[in-house]
């Protein structure tokens, strides 16, 4: 009895080792909200919720595994991960399977695989690794090279075409460059340059991408397409009011006005049913999650872990802001899920891997010296 109890205790110790309580609690709270919203969005379809629970279990396992990996190992993995992800992206653009007009998939014999997902984590790893190596003597040249390392995969993904993922990868890479200390002057200059580049960029966009931006400005031009999404999702959010219509009572949702209501537009379902109060709770949870991440970054011991923690944290922010902004009708419709809430296994796993990385960095904050 004693021994059994003891070993059970040991097992528990082992399991919670390296798990950061606040981060874990915040992620779980968001995930729980997601399951509740999914139950409503899927018309009380328990099977759909069970499927998502399976995804959650897989994502938690991935998080736990990553949390056990010390940052030095991540440092060693950074370059290979980037090279492999880049090679796979090139492979996709050369031999990728064209599924429905977009070349996103690579068939590895065992199954299809989307290398752009891998790049979401590999990109911040790589750039953090690079600036870590150049620590103390970072010059403008290094930023130029980092930009190149960032731009090539982003263009490859954008050409697939998958604008949403390209934007997320670009954002993740940019935050590393920002945290690495690119001078404010250059940043402002680049900002101006980006503004100037908007008109030619417009010419590169696909027709359907342009249409999405135009319908943001005037949703009524496309009442059956993406304009419809925006019109109906703003009505859902607005009609929710302060207190919301109550769980499972959203009329917009239940009369099928909300498209993609389990995935990209799940926030409309949530917002209609839980109202402004629910939204504030959600924003607070995300803000706390980001705050915890930034505090981990502030305490991180090495250049690599600092940059990585900062970038990974801001990934959560980017996802959440872009998605909620889209549903609330202030950003164009791009396929970005709401972190921890939207239905789908791949994005959830990527997010929990990010949480795992933060946990690993936090756990090793004092163990490693530069």
């Amino acid at each position: 009895m004693e021994i059994a109890g003891h070993s059970l205790h040991r097992l528990r110790e082992r399991l919670v080792e390296g798990i950061d309580g606040p981060l874990f609690a915040l992620a779980l709270a968001l995930t729980a909200i997601g399951l509740a919203a999914l139950y409503s969005a899927s018309y009380e379809n328990a099977a759909r919720v069970a499927a998502q629970l399976g995804n959650v279990a897989a994502a938690l396992a991935a998080m736990w595994l990553v949390a056990q990996i010390p940052p030095q190992t991540l440092l060693r993995l950074a370059l290979p991960a980037y090279v492999v992800a880049l090679a796979l992206l090139v492979g996709v653009s050369l031999f990728g399977e064209v599924v429905n007009g977009a070349r996103r998939w690579l068939n590895l014999g065992v199954g299809r695989f989307q290398p752009s997902e891998m790049m979401k984590i590999a990109m911040p790893l790589m750039l953090a690794w690079y600036f870590h190596r150049r620590e103390g003597s970072i010059r403008l040249r290094d930023f130029a090279l980092a930009t190149l390392l960032l731009v090539v995969p982003v263009l490859l993904v954008a050409r697939q075409p998958d604008l949403g993922t390209a934007l997320l990868i670009a954002a993740a890479g940019f935050t590393v460059i920002f945290f690495a200390g690119l001078s404010w002057k250059v940043l402002v200059g680049l900002g101006l340059l980006a503004l100037a580049a908007l008109p030619p960029l417009w010419g590169v966009l696909h027709d359907y991408q342009r249409r999405r931006i135009l319908t943001l400005l005037d949703p009524s031009t496309d009442p059956l397409g993406s304009g419809y999404h925006i019109i109906q999702s703003t009505i859902a959010v607005g009609s929710g009011g302060v207190t919301g219509k109550g769980w499972l009572n959203g009329s917009q949702t239940h009369l099928e006005f909300i498209p993609e209501r389990a995935t990209d537009f799940i926030f409309a379902v949530y917002s209609e049913e839980f109202g402004l109060i629910g939204n504030v709770v959600l924003l607070a949870l995300y803000a706390l999650l980001v705050g915890r991440g930034l505090s981990i970054a502030a305490q991180a011991p090495t250049q690599f872990t600092r940059l990585l923690a900062g970038a990974v944290t801001l990934i959560f922010f980017t996802y959440a802001f872009v998605n909620m902004g889209m549903v609330a009708g202030i950003l164009p419709v791009v396929g970005v899920p709401l972190p921890f809430i939207s239905y789908g296994g791949t994005a959830l796993a990527t997010l929990y891997v990010g949480i795992g990385i933060l946990m690993s960095i936090y756990r090793h904050r004092t163990l490693v010296q530069t």
């Binding site: 018309y43 599924v99 429905n100 007009g101 977009a102 620590e135 103390g136 075409p161 935050t175 920002f178 945290f179 200390g181 696909h206 027709d207 359907y208 249409r211 496309d222 009442p223 059956l224 397409g225 993406s226 419809y228 703003t234 009505i235 859902a236 959010v237 607005g238 009609s239 009011g241 302060v242 009329s251 917009q252 009369l255 099928e256 006005f257 917002s271 109202g275 402004l276 939204n279 504030v280 924003l283 995300y286 803000a287 980001v290 705050g291 930034l294 970054a297 502030a298 250049q303 600092r306 900062g310 801001l314 922010f317 802001f321 909620m324 902004g325 609330a328 009708g329 202030i330 530069t370």
Partner: protein, 637 residues
Amino acid sequence: MRFAELKNYASELRAFQLRLGFAGFVVLAAFGLLLARFIWLQVLQHDAYRAKAEENRISVVPVAPSRGLILDRNGEVLARNYLAYTLEIFPAQVRDLEATIAELAEYVDIQARDRARFRKLLQETRNAESMPIRTRLTEEEVARIAANRWRFTGVDIRARLFRQYPHGEVASHVLGYIGRVTTRDQERLEELGDAANYRGTDYIGKAGIEASYQQELHGITGFEQVEIDAGGRGIRTLSRTASQPGNNLSLTLDVRLQEVAERAFGARRGALVAIEPGTGGVLAFVSMPGYDPNLFVDGIDPSSWEVLNNSPDLPLNNRAIAGVYPPGSTFKPFMALAALELGKRTPRSTINDPGYFVFGDRRFRDSKPGGHGVVDLYKSIVMSSDTYYYMLANDMGIDAIAGFMQRFGFGARTGIDLEGEATGILPSPEWKMARYKRPEQQRWYAGETISIGIGQGYNAYTPAQLAQAMATLANNGAMFRPHVVAHVDSARTGERRQVEPQLVRQVPLKPEHVEFVKRAMAGVTKEGTGARAFAGAQYASGGKTGTAQVVAMKQNEKYDESKVTERLRDHSLYIAFAPVESPKIALAVVVENGGFGARAAAPIARTVLDYFLLGKLPAAPRKPVPEVELESDAESD
């Protein structure tokens, strides 16, 4: 040094923390912006949006456009739509599908195949849409269901347009078929930015013209603003923007010629492509056996699919563009033309044909034992001497052959406006290098060139390629892209868009050389291997028979048709153009396992030309030419 480094480190750390702070500020600002937007929507504008949600009893309902018609060159309807009632289930609103279906079966006839089809649709169709459990309800059935509607939730009767192909199996491989929009179709439409226009559309082209001209045929979806009750059912229509029907397609194809051609095949497998040489317009396009596209219209039931998909005759396989065959002796006129153009032969030069050609220690035998004696270029085509072309191929070399044949489109897609075209194989050292992995397989052996000359060896082309090459020759080197659609008409404006003949290239050829080859091909039908099939023809046509080996034979083995099982028998081929002076039609026929070209394929070509040029229908099913050999079509194919 050390101190400076530390100082540097400390200042970098401070800079980093400053930036973290800035990032935190940005996050808060962005969330503040969202919060402001939420307050705007949910507090300040709440009343307006609540009213809208209440009114959102107003649903935007798409109105699917009616699909464009497909007509033949004389205006005969090949594909049209008709209105019928369907019994539909909204799976999302039904708790127990099986129970509901069982209950419905008490009012209307629901067969096992209906259930099987419904289950299949459920698996492959995008969700949240209604799905037909029964199509084409009778009036009585509609009345019965309507009287008992209150018993069911998530069940409705809808009037829908159905596709119909009045000619059944005729031209099935040109028309193709339509099927339900699957999840994969849906994803592709989203990438194309067309998803909005397909809301309300249930069917999409899957093969043939229905697929390749999907965009033209579809039309523009309209929408209705419908007031709905709390349960989501429509009460009344408030406004409506009409849908715009899809464009009508008129084909270059003549469906009567098509029927004559298909009937000429009988139960045999094969393909025929007939082209108007001066435009590339396809006059007949046969792939036998075909299938009934009407089977696919409301979702094919699994058992019919099983039959089509598992038949050893491969009825779903479009042989005319996706089947590849060695051209056999139909390759010879092009070889002859190459010889003249490249100066390797003149019309006057002769060879002595002993019935075989020796290369190294190998003996390539002629299909006529003992050979044709003294053979000049004219006779080589008319009598189809193999020995002549063994020698010619050897003299020309593979590079010259491949270079010349490439210009006639051999081994390249014709660019016909149908999907699923095969490339075929134009053999060359480069092709072999790319095709094989091991160095000894990659090498081109001079001995391999010999049988290329008679259209055997690695040669493999689609019937469409053969027809296009024939048309190019008939048209004195001007090659047009084959197309089946002649013009696209807008049903709304009546505006007509012609499909302009598209010149692929002008093959530079000396007129006297082309004339010579054409004259020799005319000789084939008068005094050569095609003479019997064309006996008594009231027009002058040029042609060439061909026989393509299915099984490789040993060097000195004699091919005995009676001993080989049907599936291993040679393919029978014929290419033709007519009239000789100003060709209006060029065609290629392949009869799988038909044996000698003169026997199976040439009579089909005759039937088609008789009808096309004279309007003459075949009196009775043509008997195959008797097995007894006449001197003129001595067994050279």
